[in-house]
Symmetry: C2
Subunit: 392 residues, 2 copies
């Protein structure tokens, strides 16, 4: 196990009907003028925004609002949000939505107290301060409600880049699973895939003897494998929604990643796909992650056997461990297909002829990208190629 710091100070306010407590918690964490930031019309139509506004009114907290966040949230709206916050004297950002809304809120929160271009922080600059951010979560997926991370897409060139800091960890996150009961199956499955990917990125490591973290990773994965098909079959299953929602947070506070080297290449490789085609991040991951696994599995066959047996319930083949490793990956892809996810380029809406462009945008050049197994540009192209043609 490697030395680490773990810090997850967010207060999680979990359960049915909790959105009505938004005002109380904004006040508790020192907000006096709030920007309510949200996406499309569903948060408005469902009455959620009204619930939040009433709650802020009741707590005597002033607010303004900015909707319109799209999936793969854009820098253009972030600039608009920063200007609005400065004009209105906003001191607290309340994201009402999913990962895109939260990530856009975090970008605004960094930008307001910074004189330069907020994009600097998505180009590697260290984050020193930010307005406080909190969330009312409406989809289990990104884990942004408990993480210090944010991913924004630069509209000019559709460049998708991340920033991270403990300053971006939400003060509180209200998580009402019933808000997710109306989500379409496809979006639900994309979220579930993202959650599992957040764990796998941490699970595949070269650090040995981190049993506790391995077992915590497996706990989340096993839960997702049990609960996801239940919500696909019955979208209004509150209990299954609740388990998935909390699993999504646990997957990404970094509890599942401490004390070990992590990978994150699948996320990087996927980001170029959703950047170029504007497809859902989770759907892109469903195509990329098993392809990445196939490509890297012989870097450590035993670790893939561990996944196969502990997570996917395979019997260990002691005479042919590699067969067990590959069977685990096959079961993962079969699971993804069973919840309605694409498993190859065609199903995703990507094109094989774009692979050179994707590799170019990834930008590894003549070097390698680190993680579980170091990858060259040729390796990344090979992974895209496997992903392009994958089948069950």
């Amino acid at each position: 196990m490697e030395n680490f710091n773990f810090y997850s100070p967010t207060e999680f306010v979990f359960g049915k009907g909790r959105a009505a407590e938004a005002g109380h918690f904004v006040k508790k964490y020192g907000g006096s003028k709030v920007l309510i930031h949200y996406g499309g019309g569903s948060a408005v139509r469902s009455g959620l925004i009204d619930t939040v506004k009433k709650s802020l009114d009741d707590a005597g907290v002033a607010f303004c609002e900015l909707g319109g966040v799209k999936p793969n949230p854009r820098d253009t709206l972030v600039y608009k949000g920063i200007d609005m916050c400065r004009e209105e004297g906003v001191d607290f950002i309340l994201a009402v939505g999913g990962g895109s809304v939260i990530d856009s809120s975090k970008a605004i929160a960094i930008g307001v107290p910074y004189e330069g271009d907020f994009w600097d922080f998505y180009s590697g600059k260290r984050i020193e301060k930010a307005l406080p951010v909190a969330t009312v979560l409406t989809i289990a997926a990104a884990g942004s409600e408990g993480s210090g991370d944010s991913v924004i897409t630069k509209e000019d060139g559709m460049l998708k880049r991340g920033a991270g800091s403990d300053h971006l960890r939400p003060k509180f996150s209200i998580m009402d699973p019933s808000l997710t009961q109306t989500l379409p199956a496809y979006q639900t499955a994309c979220g579930a895939t993202d959650i599992m990917a957040h764990v796998f990125e941490r699970y595949f490591t070269n650090t040995t003897e981190v049993e506790i973290t391995d077992r915590l990773c497996e706990a989340v994965l096993i839960t997702m494998i049990k609960e996801t098909p239940r919500v696909i079959a019955a979208p209004d299953n509150y209990q299954a929604r609740a388990n998935i929602m909390w699993a999504g947070t646990v997957a990404h506070t970094n509890l599942c990643g401490v004390g070990r080297e992590q990978d994150w290449n699948s996320h990087g490789i996927e980001h170029e796909l959703s950047g170029l085609y504007d497809v859902a991040h989770g759907a892109g991951l469903a195509v990329i992650m098993p392809a990445w696994m196939e490509f890297v599995h012989d870097h450590n066959v035993m670790r893939f056997c561990q996944m196969a047996t502990r997570v996917f319930g395979c019997q260990m083949n002691y005479e042919d461990p590699e067969a067990t490793a590959l069977e685990g990956i096959r079961r993962f892809r079969t699971f993804l297909r069973s919840i309605g996810m694409p498993i190859n380029f065609e199903e995703l809406g990507a094109k094989e002829e774009d692979i050179p462009t994707l590799v170019e945008k990834f930008g590894v050049g003549e070097g390698t990208t680190g993680g579980f197994m170091k990858l060259t540009a040729a390796d990344i192209a090979a992974i895209y190629k496997i992903a392009a043609h994958a089948s069950l």
Copy 2:
């Protein structure tokens, strides 16, 4: 799953050599005059107290010190600590030690800003404020480094009582597994037992459909079953020590308990034992917890089958589920014996004739105590009786 709040704001600073960062973190969290609170001579002899003092000096933070905390920490030293803090103008308590030192520190932290008797908070009064507390942990056991709980023994009558509040959650906890490498096997095993008990108290619940929390509980338990025998066999095994230390924290931040009714009767039943005989809490739990399991197992046989199969690797006996449930409990007791724990009154140093006194002190009277299965005074007596005579 029930509605819940989860809040664990402690910054965990984990790994070899981290105690030298104590001064940095005290400063980060606003301390200017620190009480260093510790136990016996080992923290002094090992040089740990000197490391901490040097680190505070380097950071320009003033300090005073108070040693002498005993296992099952006493109210008498707490009063002394409160007086000292007031005289010296202390604004930050740094616990250097294990659960007893941390719990004593938390009690001092509540007492300093309170005009009345601090024991009020251990008699049910709500905690509204406390001085900030932080820890340098030297034993994996109580989980107090990440919890908002504290247990103190009133010397007059050896009455052991708890208090809890988010105000008591440490600002930071420095956790260096190498500090635990010199611990005697018995103390190590007592700590491991306490860690497992913290999970079991949350695992046995009447709340259904909390798969994610169940799996997280099992992750910690499986880790403990793997790693504890390794440190008993080789006390200087850093990796096993590290896994146990982090598992001990995860076991008690309440991550393993959210969204569900919890039990805690075993802890209550044990507290009377360690209160009366001044035995180690973990050793008392090794005697009480399997006895409690035997007494309550038919309240929900399937839950004990889940423990038996998922945690202790039993094969499910579908023709006789109760046999599986009992086999799981048998394996737990066998495990405890294998790491050197007592399993009955004689081995613990308790006396069967004291059972009426123990039940009387527990104080359930004509009523019942809640949890997984409601227990009357007669039930508690029956559990002590099973514990008195247990064998493998």
